[in-house]
C-alpha cells in the first residue's frame, strides 16, 4: 500500500473512523492492529521479524532498567545492539560482503550469494529501536513497561517504512499524554498530506521520468547539459519523493494526535554542506550525530579527530542507505566535504544570513550535492564515472527538461524561497476558509494535471 494509492486513503479513512469512534483505552490497540495490517500488506512474511526485534528491544529496555551494575547494563546493551545490527547486517549487507569475498577469492561474483529479500523499513525501525535502547541505557528514557506501547512505537504505520526516525521521548510524550488534535493540527495535517501527495506525484514522479531516461541510457544522451539535467532531475526526484513521503507521514500523524519532527527544511537552499545536512533528512542526520558522531568524540578531541569523526559518521550514514561501494563513496564524499568546510570554518557557527553572497553559496552547495547524487543514483562505480565524465568533460548537448518540467522546478524554487523568507505554510494553514480551501484546491488540481497516475513508482526510500 503506497501512500499515493486509493487503497491507502481508504485504509487511512477506516483507521481514522475506528480510532475516533473507539473508547480511548482501545485506540492504541487499533493503531497497533492497523500498523501490523499495513506492514503485512507489503509482505506478511516479515511480520515475525518485526515482532522478534520488538520483543528483543522491549525486553532489553526492561532489563536495562532492572540491571544494577554497569557491566550488566553494558551486556544487555551489547546483546540488543548485536541483535539489531545482526538482523540489519544479514538482510542488508550479506550479499554485498559475499560478493566482495568472492571477488577477493577469485570466485564467481554470485558464489556466496543468498536469495535475500530486504524487509521493508528495516533500516528505519532498527535505528528507532537502537535509539530507544541507548536512551534507556544512558538513563535518558524510562523503559516502557507496556509491550503494546513499545510495539506501537516501533511499527506506527505513518513512519514505519521510511521514517522520519522518531525518538522514543517524542513518541511516548504524545502517546502517554495524548490529546485530541487541535483544529490547527488538523489544518496542518491535511495541508501537509495534500502537499506531500503533490510533491510525490506531480513533482518527484515527473522528474523521475527524466532521471530514468538519462540513467537508463547514458550513451544515448551524451553531453554536459544532458548529464547535468539528468542528475539534477534525480536530485529533484529524490527530494520531492522523500520529503513528500515524510510530509504525508507527519500530516497523517497529526490527524491521529502525534507530532513528528520536521524531516526536511528546504535543503536545496542550503548555503553549505553543513547547512545542507541540517536541512536534509534531519531525523537521520540528528540520529547519526547523537548516536555515532558524539559517541565517537564529536569535535571534542582536536580538529583531526573531528574530521575523522565527520568522515566516519557520514561513511556509515552512506552505508546505512545500502550495501554498495556507491553508497559508501557518497557518504565518504559528504564526510570529506563536511571536514573541508569544518577546516575552513573552524569552530565558528555557520551563517545562514541572506546576504548578497548567499545565492552563490547556495548554487555551489547545490552543485556539490548534485555531484554526490551521481554515486547515489548510478548503477555502479563505472556508471558513476561515466556520468561525472559527461558532467565535466562532455560536449555540447541539450537539457532533458521540457519547458513545463523546468517551469515546475522554478515553481518549486519560488515556493521554497517563499517559505524560507515568509513562512507561508503556517500562514496558509491558519488562513480563512476561503484562502485555505482555495490553496488546497490548487494543490489538488496541480496533482491532477501533473501527477503521474497508475504508474506505481515506489518511494525511493522504501528500498532502504
Amino acid at each position: 500500500m503506497l501512500f499515493n494509492t486509493p487503497q491507502f486513503f481508504l485504509f487511512l479513512a477506516v483507521v481514522l473512523v475506528l480510532f475516533y469512534a473507539s473508547p480511548r483505552p482501545l485506540r492504541k490497540h487499533i493503531l497497533l492492529a492497523a500498523s501490523y495490517f499495513f506492514y503485512a500488506s507489503w509482505n506478511y512474511k516479515f511480520v515475525p521479524l518485526l515482532l522478534s526485534l520488538t520483543v528483543i528491544d522491549y525486553s532489553a529496555g526492561v532489563w536495562l532498567e532492572k540491571a544494577h551494575t554497569s557491566a550488566r547494563k553494558k551486556a544487555v546493551l551489547i546483546l540488543s545492539l548485536s541483535a539489531n545490527l545482526g538482523f540489519l547486517g544479514f538482510f542488508k549487507y550479506f550479499n554485498f560482503l559475499a560478493g566482495n569475498l568472492a571477488l577477493a577469492l577469485d570466485k564467481p561474483p554470485d558464489a556466496f550469494f543468498r536469495d535475500i529479500v530486504l524487509p521493508l523499513g528495516i533500516s528505519f525501525h532498527t535505528f528507532q529501536s537502537i535509539s530507544y535502547v541507548v536512551d534507556v541505557y544512558r538513563g535518558e528514557q524510562q523503559a516502557i513497561r507496556n509491550p503494546i506501547d513499545y510495539a506501537l512505537y516501533i511499527c506506527f504505520f505513518p513512519q514505519l517504512v521510511a521514517g522520519p526516525i522518531v525518538r522514543a521521548r517524542d513518541f511516548f510524550r504524545d502517546l502517554f499524554h495524548w490529546q485530541r488534535p487541535t483544529q490547527a493540527d488538523v489544518s496542518r495535517g491535511i495541508l501537509l498530506m495534500a502537499i506531500g501527495l503533490a510533491k510525490k506525484m506531480a513533482f518527484a514522479d515527473q522528474f523521475a521520468k527524466i532521471a530514468n531516461t538519462y540513467f537508463g541510457n547514458i550513451q544515448g544522451n551524451p553531453g554536459m547539459l544532458a548529464a547535468w539535467s539528468g542528475v539534477v532531475a534525480f536530485g529533484l526526484q529524490i527530494y520531492f519523493d522523500f520529503s513528500g513521503y515524510t510530509d504525508m507521514a507527519i500530516g497523517m500523524a497529526k490527524l491521529l494526535g502525534f507530532h513528528f519532527p520536521v524531516n526536511f527544511r528546504r535543503p536545496y537552499l542550503a548555503s553549505s554542506i553543513t547547512d545542507f545536512w541540517r536541512r536534509w533528512h534531519i531525523s537521520l542526520s540528528s540520529w547519526l550525530r547523537d548516536y555515532l558522531y558524539i559517541p565517537l568524540g564529536g569535535s571534542r578531541h582536536g580538529k583531526w579527530k573531528t574530521y575523522r569523526n565527520l568522515i566516519l559518521t557520514m561513511l556509515l550514514g552512506g552505508l546505512w542507505h545500502g550495501a554498495s561501494w556507491n553508497f559508501m563513496i557518497w557518504g565518504l564524499y559528504h564526510g570529506a566535504l563536511l571536514a573541508v568546510e569544518r577546516g575552513f570554518r573552524g569552530n565558528r557557527a555557520i551563517h545562514e544570513q541572506w546576504d548578497w553572497l548567499y545565492p552563490f553559496k547556495a548554487v555551489l552547495t547545490f552543485a556539490l550535492v548534485m555531484i554526490g547524487w551521481v554515486f547515489f543514483r548510478a548503477a555502479d562505480l563505472r556508471q558513476s564515472g561515466q556520468v561525472l565524465g559527461q558532467m565535466f568533460h562532455g560536449g555540447s548537448s541539450h537539457s532533458l527538461f521540457l519547458h513545463w518540467q523546468r517551469d515546475l522546478a522554478v515553481l518549486a524554487l519560488i515556493l521554497a524561497i517563499g517559505e524560507e523568507r515568509l513562512e507561508w505554510f503556517d500562514r496558509l494553514a491558519d488562513s480563512p476558509a476561503l484562502v485555505y480551501g482555495s490553496a488546497l484546491a490548487l494543490v489538488f488540481f496541480l496533482t491532477e494535471l501533473f501527477g503521474v497516475m497508475d504508474a506505481s513508482i515506489p518511494f525511493i526510500y522504501f528500498q532502504f
Binding site: I190, L402, A433, L440, A441, M453, D454
Partner: protein, 377 residues
C-alpha cells in the same frame, strides 16, 4: 455554550467549509478547463480523443448542409467506404451517406458519439451500424474492458455518466480508472495536456491545419491497393499460406482475425452488445430514424461457420423492434475474396470501391424511396 467551545465550533466549521471549498474548487477548475471547450479546442488531432472529436464536429457541421435524407454510418476500421467513390459515379443517390465511424471503436463509443451527434434522436433517416457478425462470438474474456473507450469518449462524458460508464467495465482497476477519469477529466487528458505544454505553438498550428483540411483529407483518402491474393488457410490445422512478400501486419491480422482457435463462448460479448446496442436503440425508441445493422464482409477468406457454435445473438433479438432492420446477412459476401483485402481484416482500395456502391444500394433498398428534400449544400 462557553467561549472556548464557541471558538472550537467556529474553527471546525472553518475546516469543513475549507474542505468543501477545496473539492468544489478542484471540480470547478477541472470543469473550467476540460468540460468547456477551452482545452478540447487544442486537443492533439491525431490522438484517440482528437480523432473522435474531429469526426463528431465534422458531422455536426455537415448536418446543416443536408436535408432529411441523411444517413450516418458508424463502425470501426472494418466499416470502410468512400463518399468520393459514390460522388465520382455521378449517380444521384437517394440518400446522402455520411461516415461517423472510427478505427478501434465499439458500441460503447458509438453510443456516446450518437448521443451528441443526434441529440434529438430524429436528425437522421437512418443510422447504419457495421458489425462483424449478427451472432456474438466471444473473442477474449472481457470485451467490456477496452480502456480505449475512456479516451474516445472522454469529451462526451457528462457528470451523470460517471457511475454508468465506470460500472460498464468489469475489472476493479479499470472501474476506478474510468470513474476517476470521468469525474476528473484532467487525469485522462493529462498526457495530451503535457504534450501541449511542451510544444504549444506547433500544436496550435496542427489543430488549425486539421480544422481546415481534415474534411478534405477524409473525403479524398484512398485506401491502400495491397492485396491478399494468394492467401490460403487450412481450416483443419489453421495453417496459413500468406501471399508472397506479406508484411507483419498482414500476418498478424490473418492470425488474430481469421486463423485463430475459437474462444470459450461465455456470452460476455452478447451481454456487452445487449447493453450498448440496447442503449442506442432505446434512444431511438419511437423515433422515425431507422437503425440498420449491416453484417460486413467477413474477411478475405471467411471463417467456416462450423468452427465455433455461437449460441448468443443480441442483434437478432433486437431485430424485432419496430425501427430496427437487419440488412441481408449475405449482402456483402461477394467481397469475401483475398483480392478485396489489404490484410486479414480490412478492405483494400478495390474492396472499398466495390463496398461503397453495394452499401449505398443496400441502404436505398432497405429505406425505399427518399422523401427528396433538397440538400442545403
Amino acid at each position: 455554550m462557553t467561549a472556548s467551545s464557541k471558538i472550537a465550533s467556529s474553527k471546525s466549521r472553518r475546516l469543513v467549509l475549507a474542505c468543501i471549498l477545496a473539492f468544489a474548487g478542484l471540480f470547478g477548475l477541472d470543469a473550467l478547463l476540460f468540460r468547456t471547450n477551452i482545452y478540447p479546442s487544442v486537443l492533439e488531432p491525431e490522438s484517440t480523443t482528437g480523432q473522435f472529436e474531429l469526426i463528431l464536429r465534422r458531422e455536426q457541421q455537415a448536418q446543416a448542409h443536408y436535408g432529411n435524407n441523411l444517413v450516418v454510418t458508424i463502425g470501426n476500421s472494418r466499416f470502410a467506404w468512400s463518399a468520393k467513390v459514390l460522388d465520382d459515379l455521378g449517380q444521384k443517390a437517394a440518400y446522402t451517406l455520411r461516415d461517423a465511424g472510427l478505427a478501434g471503436t465499439d458500441p460503447r463509443a458509438w453510443y456516446y458519439m450518437l448521443r451528441d451527434l443526434d441529440p434529438t434522436a430524429r436528425r437522421y433517416r437512418a443510422i447504419a451500424i457495421g458489425v462483424d457478425d449478427y451472432d456474438d462470438e466471444d473473442r477474449g474474456p472481457h470485451p467490456e474492458d477496452d480502456i480505449r473507450n475512456l479516451h474516445y469518449a472522454i469529451a462526451r462524458l457528462r457528470l451523470s455518466d460517471v457511475i454508468e460508464f465506470s460500472a460498464s467495465f468489469s475489472s476493479p482497476a479499470l472501474r476506478w480508472q474510468t470513474f476517476r477519469g470521468a469525474l476528473l477529466k484532467g487525469t485522462v487528458y493529462q498526457t495530451d495536456f503535457l504534450a501541449f505544454l511542451a510544444h504549444p505553438g506547433p500544436r496550435r498550428a496542427l489543430v488549425q491545419l486539421y480544422r481546415q483540411q481534415a474534411g478534405d483529407w477524409a473525403y479524398t483518402y484512398v485506401e491502400s491497393s495491397h492485396s491478399m491474393e494468394g492467401l490460403k488457410i487450412d481450416w483443419a490445422t489453421l495453417g496459413v499460406t500468406l501471399p508472397p512478400g506479406a508484411d507483419q501486419n498482414q500476418r498478424d491480422t490473418v492470425n488474430s482475425f481469421l486463423a485463430h482457435q475459437p474462444d470459450e463462448q461465455t456470452g460476455k460479448l452478447y451481454a456487452f452488445h445487449r447493453a450498448w446496442f440496447g442503449r442506442i436503440l432505446d434512444r431511438y425508441r419511437g423515433s422515425p430514424t431507422k437503425i440498420i445493422f449491416l453484417r460486413l464482409a467477413r474477411g478475405p477468406i471467411p471463417r467456416p461457420e462450423n468452427l465455433v457454435r455461437k449460441p448468443f445473438s443480441s442483434i437478432r433479438e433486437f431485430a424485432s423492434r419496430p425501427n430496427v432492420v437487419l440488412a441481408g446477412e449475405h449482402a456483402f459476401d461477394s467481397l469475401e475474396h483475398p483480392e478485396f483485402y489489404r490484410d486479414g481484416m480490412h478492405l483494400n482500395r478495390a474492396g472499398v470501391e466495390a463496398f461503397s456502391v453495394m452499401l449505398a444500394e443496400e441502404i436505398s433498398r432497405i429505406l425505399g424511396p427518399s422523401e427528396q428534400t433538397p440538400d442545403r449544400m
